[in-house]
């Protein structure tokens, strides 16, 4: 039994609003698949380059296993001389493997044995790859269209429903076929096939001077059904880095959170789609397993309603979570509002966005936060012509520094939210930085807090003229900032608790030790201390020693229910100094002392003894009077 108490189940009504519910739901209907294709040409520039590619795939395998356990992953070699069969030879029986291609791993959900097999294979590559797989003769150019056909076949016959299939082609040859050749045309035909089947194609160049121009620009734009001049050339080294994290630049067409109509006025709407900048924190899936044989036990939580009559159970039935109702009282009478009706209230509108007006960019406060922002991009599929209208609006807003205020209902049963659309664009000068990966041209959707989400705090108890620091103190912190500056890179910050868990899992299952830094190391301050060592004397000179903060009475321990004894708010050591007592008098904080402390002050600093039973205010008055007298003399 949990500590859950249904009688006090306070529903905050926000339960249904979850950005990624749609994405999750879709995932339920199919899996994601990545098929890696490694070009055997990589071995010509030295086995090192091939090993580098295989190493990237290794990290991709491992990180994939750790995070998305249901994904399918496969590996194929292209442009090989021989076609050795995979370990489970039977699984390619129904597939025609063309010449110069070798299937190493058909699409499979990764398991421990598969990864072990791959690691074993990697150990033999240096000595055996050239003889076992080789390179197609004479020029290392196998047929590109046949390779794509094999990939399509593998994806189609993987035996699982797919919702997102990607082919990642790792190569260093930028011209597999010359533009004038027949093979080039055949390859382009396959690109159209890819588009029709909604399979994504990515090329991962292993060399930095890769030229997309002669072949891939056309191939990729065709496979994604975008215009040739919309192609943005990615940076190869960034792509490799991302792939190791098992990330590919996501195809905008298939990975959105939802499509909706954006109403600009009566009868005027365009279709758009929206995306998230980052996903929910994904931890490895936690399961319950049987101790004896490691078999997985799935658990379900059920709501059971029982009626007792004396000892006997009169009836018992299971309730679904949405079968309950909201209870509210009218005098003695208790009324109900069923979940179905609440859903009707939620569903009064279709998902859409309504224009409310425009404001200047400066109207948006610098720091305003309600929930993570999203990205919006036009969608020409539902309303044809949306892209042009979207571009017009976007360009004018960019140029005139305008933002758009809208009301946005992102999906069914969600809560309508006020949002601001801020036009953003890719800065061409930043292609090499992570910022170019963030998104593209479009609108950023910033969610605005409702009036009730903003807490108004009256800071008058914090305000004090003595708060402000002089220039010397500001200078001191300027110096500290200079010494402890770092350059922000997103990959600088990893989730320490996730790293720790993953390192432990890898060590337990595959015996791989990773050099994951524990959080203790992250919290280690020795390096920081060393860098700012020479300013420390300044610090001690400029700032007084912090008064020990008043201890609070510890909260009532729920176990015994009794309140604990009163803790003195003022430290005994502090009142030993008369200066501190004077300070307390000036601040009118003598009442914070306990009676015993006040008695002690009278005795120590003023040589006065009042009867033990004297009330507190009398003690305080006495001290104030005596201190005034002392100051007078």
């Amino acid at each position: 039994m949990s500590t859950w108490n249904p009688a006090n189940d306070v529903d905050l009504l926000s339960g249904s609003e979850d950005e990624e519910d749609i994405a999750m739901k879709r995932d339920y209907h199919g899996r994601e698949a990545i098929l890696f294709v490694v070009d055997a040409n990589l071995q010509t520039a030295g086995i090192g380059r091939l090993m580098e590619a295989l190493n990237i795939i290794r990290t991709a395998f491992i990180s994939g296993m750790l995070v998305n356990d249901k994904d399918l992953i496969g590996l194929v070699f292209a442009n090989t001389k021989h076609s050795p069969l995979p370990l489970e030879a039977s699984c390619v029986e129904t597939i025609v493997v063309p010449e110069n291609c070798a299937v190493f791993l058909p699409l499979r959900q990764l398991t421990k044995p598969i990864v072990e097999h791959y690691l074993e294979f990697m150990g033999t590559v240096e000595s055996q790859f050239a003889t076992e797989y080789g390179l197609v003769e004479p020029d290392g150019r196998g047929k590109f269209d046949l390779m794509i056909r094999l990939c399509i076949e593998l994806l189609e016959k993987c035996g699982k429903k797919l919702n997102n299939a990607k082919i990642a082609y790792v190569t260093d040859v930028d011209t597999p076929h010359l533009p004038s050749s027949n093979e080039f045309q055949a390859a382009l035909q396959k690109a159209i096939d890819l588009e029709g089947k909604e399979f994504e194609f990515h090329v991962i160049p292993m060399n930095d001077d890769f030229d997309y121009g002669p072949f891939y620009k056309e191939f990729i734009t065709l496979s994604r059904a975008i215009e040739l001049d919309a192609f943005v050339e990615p940076d190869p080294s960034l792509l490799r880095e991302m792939l190791a994290d098992r990330k590919l630049k996501q195809d905008f067409l298939r990975r959105c959170l939802g499509h909706f109509a954006f109403h600009l006025g009566p009868n005027l709407s365009m279709s758009v789609q929206y995306y998230n900048y980052f996903q929910r924190r994904a931890l490895p899936r936690k399961v319950q397993i049987m101790r004896r044989d490691n078999s997985v036990v799935s658990t379900k939580r059920q709501i059971i309603v029982r009626k007792h009559e004396g000892e006997e159970i009169k009836h018992e039935y299971q309730m679904k979570a949405n079968q309950g109702w909201y209870k509210f009282d009218l005098g003695e009478k208790s009324l109900r509002l069923t979940m179905t009706r609440m859903d009707m209230v939620r569903n009064m509108h279709k998902p859409h966005m309504q224009l409310l007006g425009f404001k200047h960019r400066s109207a948006l406060p610098e720091v305003l936060y309600s929930k993570p922002s999203n990205f919006m991009y036009p969608d020409d599929q539902s309303i044809i012509g949306s892209k042009r209208l979207f571009r017009g609006l976007w360009e004018r807003c960019l140029q005139r520094e305008k933002i758009i205020v809208c009301l946005f209902m992102s999906k069914r049963k969600s809560i309508p939210r006020y949002v601001v659309l801020v036009p953003v664009q890719v800065d061409k000068s930043e292609v090499k930085s992570y910022r170019s990966q963030l998104c593209g041209d479009g609108f950023k959707i910033v969610y605005l807090p409702e009036a009730k989400h903003i807490r108004h705090i009256d800071m008058c108890d914090w305000n004090n003229t003595a708060n402000s620091a002089d220039d010397e103190k500001v200078d001191f912190f300027q110096k500290i900032i200079k010494r402890l500056r770092i350059d922000y890179q997103p990959n600088l910050i990893n989730d320490p608790s996730l790293d720790y868990l993953q390192a432990n899992l890898l060590a337990l299952s595959l015996d791989i030790t990773t050099d994951s830094k524990g959080i203790d190391e992250l919290l280690d301050t020795t390096a920081q201390d060393k860098r700012i060592e020479k300013y420390m004397p300044d610090y001690e000179r400029l700032f007084d020693v912090e008064a020990v903060p008043a201890k609070k009475r510890p909260a009532k321990a729920s176990a015994n229910g009794a309140s604990s004894s009163k803790m003195p708010k003022i430290d005994m050591k502090q009142i030993e100094s008369y200066e501190f007592v004077e300070y307390l008098i000036a601040e009118e904080r003598l009442t914070s002392c306990t009676v015993a402390q006040l008695q002690w002050i009278l005795q120590k600093h003023f040589d006065e003894n009042l009867p033990k039973s004297s009330p507190k205010d009398r003690l305080v008055k006495c001290i104030v009077a005596l201190s005034a007298g002392k100051a007078g003399t």
């Binding site: 949990s2 993570p372 009301l407 963030l438 479009g442 009036a451 009256d458 708060n467 103190k473």
Partner: protein
Amino acid sequence: MATNKECLVIVLDVRTCAAEDFKLKSVKCVAEILKDKIVCSSKDYVSFVLVGSAKNTDDCQNVIYFKEGSVQLCSWQLLLDLFTFVNETACEQGEWLDGIKVALDMQENALALKPARRRILLLFDFNSMPQSYENFNSITDELLNSGIELIVGSHNIAYIDNMESGEPQAIFNFSRKCTAEELENQKYALNLVPRCNATLCSFKETLQTVFRVTNRRPWTWNSTLCIGSKISINVQGMIAMKNQTPVKLNRVWAVSDEEVSRETHHFMKGAEVTPLPEDLMTGYMLGGTAVPYDDTLLEPKAPHPPGLHFFGFIKRDSVPDEYFSGDSLYVVAHQKGSTVSANKLDALVRALDSSNHAMLCWKIYSPKLNTPKMVILLPKLPDDSHPAMLYMLELSYTSQHHFWDFPSLRTTKSECSEEQLEAIDRLIDSTDLECSLSNTHQPRQWRQNDLLPFDSLPSIFEQNVMDVLERRVIKEGSLRDDDQQFKEMLKDKNFVDVFWSVPEALEEKSKQAASTVKKLFPLKHSRAWLEKLQAKEQAENALPIKDEPQDKEIPMPADGVGLVASAQDYTRILASIRSISNVTRRDAQFQTLAAQVRVVIFTLLERKKLNLEQLGELISLYRQSCLDFNAFLEYDKFTEELKKIVVAKRLQEFWTDIMDDKQLGPLVLGQPTLDDELNLKAYYTIDWQGVP
């Protein structure tokens, strides 16, 4: 325990001379305040005073208070009581100062409840009815001295920007001619502002002002901010914005005498198993392999020290705000009363701001909630209202980030013509929320020079929920309450569309601009897409029915068929029986129900005055269900018995009007044969003369 509960006394104008529209609006305004307090289950106290009633209190004429003058906790009952209270007999006379005097007395009495905030809301029509202002000074002084806040709401209120301060200021709208008395009344109302810091506002602003409360003692997270091991600042974190609704509704699954529990059930390959707790252990899925991972086997580690641990200073704009995560925005201030920390924080904030830097820290909340989280701290320079502070926001980790591949928007295909761009410009200009109000010296109807200020956006869903609940409470007692009616109510109520449009002031212009845009941009719905969408919807809808027919079962109601609403009871129970998927169980349940309904029918026939309609309905329902459940024999037996009783009790009227007229006799399978017809005729015919 310090609470932030408030005590609010609302003074309403019910004089017959006050504008009808004004009175309606003010009751609506009070209802909104009450509704908000009810659904947020606040502990605030309220009460009401009427000015202009025919009755009097002890010392004030034409003023009465609500229920003995004591303040009340908010409840739906109170809302209904208010609606009756405002309909007390009214008269011409009534002094608003008397109303405030009575309200002040009530506040005085409520002091025993120790409210943190005391407010009086006066909703008054300052019309030409003369008022006496003898006590004006003494009452305003009393307000000022007791620290009670006064909010005055009225109509005819407009706003202008103050010449000196530039702040918005409320005035009376002079657009129409006023009598001298009216001007006099308005003068005193305006005078309240300088006399006792009252807030004068229009109805819409009144609500905003009542809801907008500042908190002197917010919840704080006490902590230290450390840079290296030497520099430490005592700080307090406070929530500045949080995406959290204040509405609290109790969700229940069972009636009071039933017990609800949430239980964990275990399944292996679809079959339920009941393993002992010691047989189970935790593991993680590594691809398709489950790896045992026993937390207890790992060395238990000492918790990390709580606080903000410095990580690095970064350029302010190097972290994109797209990566901000979490559900709240915090502000971090120095520990209250600690001047040393205030000094340090002030210096740090100024240094960060002038060098355009921000700060990354690991946040460890407490020894219990010990997971480190990366946060970014942004400087917020001090001003008159607050000391130097830092904004604190959580950051997402690199493993969460998406990298997108969006094609460039500027392509030749999506190029717009000059004319098209001009149309868009016109749309932008005609829907501008700020510019149309550029002439700030003209009185305007809203406080801020902005049609949709970002700090007072309504909560649409919560408003809808409140309205629905209110409707339910008012309608309580009316007979019909089904989903259909509920749907109609949602449709008829115009709250659906009230928020979903361009502000009224701009509507017409914006509409025209949009139609020009529409003319210039060819837009067409794609048929292929619509078809795809429909196919997808169908596929999704078809799936779950096949999957889990079990869950469709409606739980059996605990009660049986009663004598009052027998037909309704019967239909209801029958529906839940029909939903049982197990055939044997379903038939057995039906037998029980049938036996029950037969007893009910016979009992009803015992009555001296028969309710023919009820009997007819019930018998025909029973007959129909017997047909559905193939219970022919049973029904035949029932009809025989029925006939015996009818004959014995000579229920001629029942027999001819109900049984014969509605043809409720024995059931016939398939097309009736000649024999069947004859049998039926024999059944319906009773020779009443022959009955003894």
